[in-house]
Symmetry: none
DNA sequence: TGCAATGTTCACGTGGTGTTAACGCTGGGG
DNA sequence: CCCCAGCGTTAACACCACGTGAACATTGCA
């Protein structure tokens, strides 16, 4: 472990026991978590608890070489890497650095629309010209859906499925109302939208870059 | 100073003037801050401002050898180390590394909400405008949980798990009542909360910085 | 044991939120 | 030029989540 410390010495390292892993992850907000529990079952439980916790950390799961089953399960649970002990310190250090630098579809907490609008996913609110604008739950979900697919046309059915849920059977026109409410909050002139645009006969799309600049 | 740079060259170093120390500490989130102000009184003010700022940094306080009084006061204020100039560069570098590698970063004993509220984690009480406000155990735990995840939305289930324990099965609405009691103690107007906010349909979140300022 | 402090649960009112429908407007095609 | 499907707009309505107060239970301490 001294050797490992030397290899990762320029990083901020913390060691915690399994019982504290969720609390530590939430408080410290690390970028990488290495789970090296001697008990594979307890390690798996830690994985599940972490996955439902408020952390974006990438997970590196390490088990004794005999615990092949748990190592595979961990992958299913969504860990980023799953390795078996024994493990060379340099190997582990390398994996940690790999995860650290890996471009991951990071759950960014902020999405931009233009230069004056910012959707804060944590607060589920909108920052417009430096002023916070309240978003209702459905509005936030709707805007998030659009912002994650900038420029793409989304049909009402697609929107209903993603925002309202797959088994939801409601009037597609409900989407229109929410679009209107969103426009009143993000558009300079709601009557002449420049961001959240109608695609007649198909659905709606959100521009993320001013049209004139393209 | 060139010699010191050589001794600490593998670390990321920043130099700032006293007026910028709080801002720099907040933005850079350093692990160690060396306060070497030629003016001992100004150095002490920096210590106090840092101690109530959003940083976990360990503090190393350096004064001219004549300023014995201030050096002792700094210790009372909670600096981690207090040394007198003149000081050999190797000595200083050694102290910095000592603080850096100290087993575990010191648990911050105080968390801030706004500028007038301070949660003392040891006493588990609240300092509001310089007056101690009594917190009941659950209230203290709840506020601590929020203060450690400023701005983040916490669901009732998440709160229950963290404050009441993982195996606790109680009414999620219990959280509402404690939130209400907390509001009566931290909010200027409990009917119109500005710190501990409701996120309808999701949970609650604690703002640590006034929203309009951002 | 008794009392005070703390914690939990419930019921009720209210306001925010979502849904639906009706009606008017617009643009494109016959 | 008119028609109509599609969309904008508004408002009524129902529902549900939350705030609130209080009763009740539990804990801690003298």
């Amino acid at each position: 472990m001294a050797e490992l410390d030397a290899l990762l010495g320029d990083l901020e390292l913390h060691r915690v026991v399994a019982a504290d892993v969720v609390r530590a992850a939430t408080e410290l907000q690390p970028r990488v978590i290495v789970l090296a529990d001697p008990d594979p079952a307890r390690g798996l439980r830690s994985v599940r608890r972490l996955r439902s916790a408020h952390t974006d950390a990438r997970l590196l799961f390490i088990t004794p070489v005999v615990a092949e089953q748990e190592r595979l399960e961990a992958l299913v649970e969504g860990v980023d890497e799953s390795l078996a002990e024994p493990l060379a310190p340099s190997e582990l250090a390398g994996r940690v650095r790999l995860l650290l630098h890996r471009a991951r579809p990071v759950r960014r907490s902020r999405l931009l629309v233009g230069e004056r609008l910012e959707l804060d996913l944590e607060r589920r609110q909108l920052l417009r010209d430096g002023v916070w604008v309240h978003l209702r739950p459905k509005e936030a979900s709707l805007l998030e859906l659009f912002a994650r697919a900038p420029g793409r046309v989304l049909t009402r059915d697609h929107i209903l499925e993603r925002v309202w849920g797959p088994d939801h059977s409601g009037d597609p026109r409900t989407v229109d109302v929410h679009v209107r409410w969103l426009r009143s909050k993000i558009e300079p002139d709601p009557h002449d939208p420049v961001w959240l645009l109608t695609v007649r006969g198909v659905g709606y799309r959100l521009e993320t870059v001013p049209l004139t600049k393209r």
